[in-house]
Amino acid sequence: MAVITLQTFFIAGFGLAAIGFGVAVFRTSSMMRSALALLFSQTALGAMFLAMQVEFLGVLQIMMMATEMSIMAIFMVMFMMDPGGLGAMEMTHQKRLSILAGVVGTLFIAGIALFTSWGAVIATAPPAAQQTHDLGIELLGRSMLIFETAGVTILTAMIAATAIALPSLQRNPHHEP
C-alpha cells in the first residue's frame, strides 16, 4: 500500500476544495457568490498544480482566474433578472438531461484518465526555473501553431463582440439615442 505523503495529502485536499467550490457554484442563488465560488474552485486547481510542483502553471492559473472570473461575475449579474438571489428564483432547469450529461461526461473523462498511457512517472520534478524554460521552448516550438490559432480566434471574437456592441453608425448616422 502506498504511503500517503504530505504532497498527496495536499493534492487531495485542494482537489476536494475545488470540487466543493464547484458544487457551491450551483447551490447558491446569488450570482456573485456563484461566480466567486467558481473563482475559488479554479484557485484551488492552481494550488493543486503548486502541490504537484508545477510552479509556473499553478501561479498562472491562480492569476488568470482571479480577473477572468471577476469579469464573468459582472456579466452574470447583468444578465440574470435576480442577481442577488433574493427572490428565491428557481435556477435549475432540464434536470434529467443535465444529470445524464453530467454522468456521461464524468465517465468519459474517467475513461480518458484510466485508459491513456501516461508514460513513466517522473520521480523528482525538474527545478521550477527549468520548467519555465522548458514551457517557453514548448510554446515557441511544437505548440506554437495551436496557441497562435487560439489567440487569433479569441482576438477575432473580441473585435466582433466590440463591433456588435457599438451603436451602428449607418442605422443611426446622427448618434441619436
Binding site: 510552479e55 491562480i62 521550477a128
Partner: protein
Amino acid sequence: MTTLLIISALLVGAYLVAVLEAWLANGRFRLTGPLWATVALLGRESIVPRTPDRLFFETAPVLLLVAAVLAAAVLPLSPSLIIANMATGALFINAALAYVLVALLMAGWGPDGAYALIGGWRFLGQVIAYSMLVVMPITAVAMRAESLLTTDIVLSQSGVWNIVYQPLGFVLFFVASLAVAFLPPFDLPTAGGELAGGVEAEYTGSRLAVFRLGRMVLIVSLAAATTVFYLGGWLGPVLPPWAWSAVKILAVSAAMLLIGHTLPRVRETQLLAWCWKLGIPLALLNIFIVGVLVLIWL
C-alpha cells in the same frame, strides 16, 4: 525569522505611509496620528449593514490585507531577506495583486449598499484598464534579467538601474501601481466627495481598520515592487542593503502619495481610453526597445 522581520518591516512601512498620507491630507505632521486613529477605530462599534452578504462583507478586508502581504512575500529587502524566493516571483506578484480586485468586488457587493456597489464595479473597470500596464512592463524587466526570480532581477541592475535602462516601462508601471492601490488620481472605487467612500463606505470600527491597514500595506508592497524592478532593490554604496531598500521604498511611497495629491480624479472612461489607446502601445514599444537593447548591448 525572516518572515517575522519582513512582516514587521511592512507594518512599520504601512504606519509611516499613514503618517505621510495624513500629513498631505490635513497639513499637520503627527507621528502618533495613525496610532490614535487606529485606537479610535478599534474602540468604535463595527456596524454590520441590515442585509449584507455576510461572507463577502467579512472576507473582503482580510483578503485585501492577505493579497498585499503575499505580494510583498516574493520581494527581497536584501539578498537573503525574502520570504519566498520563487522561480516565478515576478509572475507571482501579479497573481497576488489580482486578488485586490476580488477583495474590492466583495467589499462592493457585501454590504448591499449603492455607493459600495458602484465602487466595487468601478474597480473592475479600472483593472481592465491598468492590468496590462502592470504585466507588460514586468515582462520587459524579466527579459533583461532573463529570469523571473526577483533576486536575479535586482542583480541584473548592478550596472545600470532599470529606471535608466527602460524609463518608459518605469513610468507605465508607476502609473499602474497608483491605479492598483486606488490612490488619487485613480481613487475611483473610494472616491471621497462623490461616492462617500465607495467600497469603504459601509465599513466601520475594526473592519475598517483592517481594510485601511490592507491598503497601506498594499502601497508599501507596490513601492517595494517598484524598487525591486526599477530602482536596483537593495543595491547602493555605504549603507547596508536593507537600509537602501527601506530608503527607496519610502521614497517611492512618498512619490506615489505626493503625485496623486496634485492631480484631479480621472474619469473611468478617460482612464480606459488612455490605458488602451496610449498605455498598451507604449508598453509594447517598451518591450520592443528592451528586446533590441538586450540583443545589442545587454
